[in-house]
């Protein structure tokens, strides 16, 4: 059993990697776009789940990071002549990191409901800045970007081209997702879990919980900013939607639908949301209603989300197997 499992896991990983690499050749361009969007929202949702699922911090302000990343990318690309796409994205991620540091240090002392409400307030603040600071953000009109071609050693990537932006997203955000996954296994990752389970005890053990929380807040903010940056790049346009409460609700839905209990839950949720939204919006313009109902059903009857349901099925199968053996 023990020797079999890593081998089958390796197979699964190999097949998944091959499928992802071949996707542009297999999928029609619109499907490819949806997959790209799914990857972008996966990172956004995973970063959110590091706060919610791992640290137990319920934030209603995650869109401020996403939005700052998205707007900063557009602003840097438009305002700095000759800047490369990667540099603009790096700077934009840096900008959301700074926002995380600023907001995070103000939120250090509060927990629970006050924390949730304050994040909501900060999100509204950033939305208001987006609306009012017209010269910088374009206000209601949003910002158009024409992302320049990216010259890599091996060739040229054009972010306006579907397969190119897909590969760029896959490699960069895939790496970021792997990094997040590794992060949960590090000492820092464990201390985040401890934060959720018993913060008092953690303090008695000599940890500085405020710093742990701040680091996590900044880290997840930067990741959300990176996702936002790709969102702008994919659409060649950014609007206030990126920093709106809707965007926060979206990540909440994705994370809860996918399940907060596992690392892959939010990824599942992000893809599920992207595809279901696409499917439902074909059928009716009232798709948010259905999505909302789905959310309520999920929270009431399957609090573990899709990943929880999946896990349940696997467990039942295993049990059936062991029961059948003797």
């Amino acid at each position: 059993m023990t020797s079999q499992r890593p081998r089958s896991l390796a197979w699964i990983v190999a097949v998944a990697v091959a499928a992802l690499a071949a996707a542009p050749y297999l999928l029609p361009s619109y499907q490819l776009r949806l997959v790209t969007e799914g990857i972008i929202f996966s990172l956004y949702a995973v970063s959110y789940n590091l706060l919610l699922g791992h640290a137990g911090l319920l934030s209603f302000g995650h869109a401020m990071f996403f939005g700052v990343g998205a707007f900063a990318t557009a602003i840097f690309l438009n305002q700095i002549p000759g800047i490369s796409v990667l540099a603009a994205m790096g700077l934009a991620t840096g900008a959301s990191l700074l926002v995380g540091l600023l907001v995070g240090s103000l939120l250090l002392r509060v927990k629970g409901t006050p924390f949730a409400l304050l994040t909501l307030a900060f999100n509204s603040l950033f939305f208001a800045i987006g609306v009012k600071w017209h010269t910088l953000t374009g206000g209601d009109d949003g910002l158009n970007v024409i992302p320049p071609k990216l010259h890599l050693g091996l060739g040229v990537l054009d972010p306006r081209n579907g397969p190119d932006i897909y590969y760029l997203t896959l490699v960069v955000l895939g790496a970021a997702l792997l990094f997040c996954w590794r992060f949960t296994a590090t000492a820092m990752g464990h201390s985040v879990l401890l934060l959720r389970e018993n913060e008092e005890r953690m303090r008695f053990l000599g940890y500085n919980t405020s710093i742990t929380r701040l680091i996590l807040f900044v880290f997840t903010g930067a990741l959300a900013g990176l996702a936002g940056s790709f969102y702008t790049l994919q659409n060649a346009f950014v609007s206030l939607d990126a920093v709106s409460i809707d965007m926060t609700t979206k990540v909440l839905l994705m994370t809860f639908l996918g399940g907060t209990g596992s690392f892959l839950g939010p990824v599942l949720g992000a893809f599920f949301y992207t595809y279901v939204q696409d499917y439902l919006s074909n059928l009716t313009d009232n798709w948010p209603l259905i999505m909302g109902a789905l959310f309520i059903v999920m929270v009431l009857f399957a609090p573990g989300g899709l990943s929880g349901l999946g896990q349940g099925v696997v467990n039942r199968l295993k049990r059936a197997k062991t029961a059948a053996r003797p």
Binding site: D141, I146, D285
Partner: protein
């Protein structure tokens, strides 16, 4: 689980795609409008205009032998939603022609999208000057007046009437600011004696206009310029008359039948003027024929929005006819410099910024009219296009190679 879900959905979408592919070849024109929410009435009326134009064209055998298929798309006035739906139409259904008229934010997103996928987008209602100014691109055409032109037309009217004291009131966001700035600039130019005796920029969604109305009354203004729309216009007009405001309004959207209906007090609107590129009361045979045909087909009058969208669609069709096909690059080339003589006068698509050069029509709101039982526009008077034009080099549009 994830793979399975994706596989299922891919299959479902694939099937839908296959179902759509069998139909005869048509020219697909997607109408990007709000068909739900607060702005539904605007989107509906625009779409009725486009739809009627398509019916007229199809009755004559279509364009270049192909029928036009109008695809309504609900944007919810949300650029993200509009982008998502339009991208799908482009990538999956191979739609190449788009139009829309509501929301400058949607316009910006559609402009970016049109550029990215080399599709064509024309707007018959999005007025922000920047769309054909510093944001201009070769895939984006505007067949309606921008804020500059509409403000200039009203300034021309105010100057011609010889008003000396003018008050400006507008919503405090980019559109209102642009409108007031352009109006003030042109009025100073045309009549240096005219004085702006007061200016108010109020937040959108204002409920109580009483303080502003008293400000207008005490300023002694003879005429009030406003670019307000929606509820902000309805409430302003509704509250001004009972408070004793004698000055009339010169406004962007006074020729809106739903607004006048909502004010529900004809005395509050009679004597004020509206300015638009299309009004149902434009004199001339071309418009008369259009109005009669529309009334017969639909049972109601093609008021401003419907007429704007109709004429724009006919203009687009002219470009397709001239191009001889519906390939985007050819249509762009054909449309540049093209002139269309339609119900609202002569329109010429300027090549340097893709902003149409056209007259703006001004009409006073009168009590008796053939269209409605309530007050509506009287005969429209033309402000010629050369009086309200902005020279190419002043638009801020760079890079539309001739």
């Amino acid at each position: 689980m994830r793979k399975f879900a994706i596989a299922c959905l891919t299959l479902a979408l694939g099937l839908m795609l296959a179902a759509g592919a069998g139909a005869a070849e048509t020219i697909k024109l997607a109408v990007m409008e709000p068909f739900s929410g607060n702005f539904k009435d605007i989107g509906d009326r625009y779409a009725e205009g486009v739809q009627y134009a398509a019916e007229v064209l199809n009755a004559k055998g279509g364009i270049n032998g192909k029928k036009i298929e109008v695809i309504p798309v609900d944007t919810e006035v949300n650029p993200a939603v509009a982008t998502r739906k339009a991208t799908k139409l482009i990538l999956q259904d191979n739609v190449r022609h788009f139009c829309g008229g509501t929301g400058s934010s949607v316009a910006g997103a559609m402009e970016a999208l049109a550029d990215k996928h080399n599709t064509l987008f024309f707007t018959y209602g999005m007025a922000a000057a920047s769309l054909t100014g510093d944001k201009c691109n070769r895939n984006f055409f505007r067949t309606c007046a921008n804020t500059d032109m509409q403000s200039y037309a009203l300034a021309t009217w105010v100057a011609e009437q010889g008003f000396k004291k003018v008050f400006c009131i507008a919503q405090d966001y980019s559109f209102g600011q642009e409108a007031v700035a352009a109006f003030t600039k042109k009025l100073k130019e045309l009549n240096p004696q005219a004085e702006i005796v007061g200016q108010v920029m109020h937040p959108m969604g204002t409920k109580d206009f009483a303080p502003y109305v008293s400000q207008i009354i005490s300023s002694g203004a003879e005429v009030v310029f406003t670019s307000n729309w929606g509820n902000d216009l309805t409430l302003l007009l509704k509250q001004a008359q009972p408070m004793g405001l004698k000055a009339k309004f010169a406004g962007y959207y006074l020729n809106d039948e739903l607004m006048i209906n909502a004010v529900a007090n004809d005395q509050a609107v009679i004597g004020s003027v509206g300015a638009e590129i299309y009004m149902v009361s434009i004199p001339g045979q071309a418009n008369q024929e259009f109005v009669e045909g529309f009334k017969k087909a639909k049972g109601f009058y093609p008021t401003w929005l419907r007429g704007k969208a109709y004429a724009a669609t006919m203009f687009w069709a002219e470009a397709l006819k001239k191009a001889g096909n519906d390939k985007v690059d050819d249509v762009i080339k054909a449309w540049e410099g093209l002139t269309y003589d339609g119900p609202a006068g002569k329109w010429t698509m300027r090549a340097c910024d893709h902003q149409v050069q056209q007259p703006v029509w001004i009409a006073e709101i009168v009590a008796k009219n053939p269209y409605f039982s309530h007050a509506f526009v009287g005969p429209a008077k033309m402000v010629a296009s050369d009086k309200i034009t902005t020279p190419c080099e002043q638009t801020g549009c760079k890079g539309l190679a001739k």
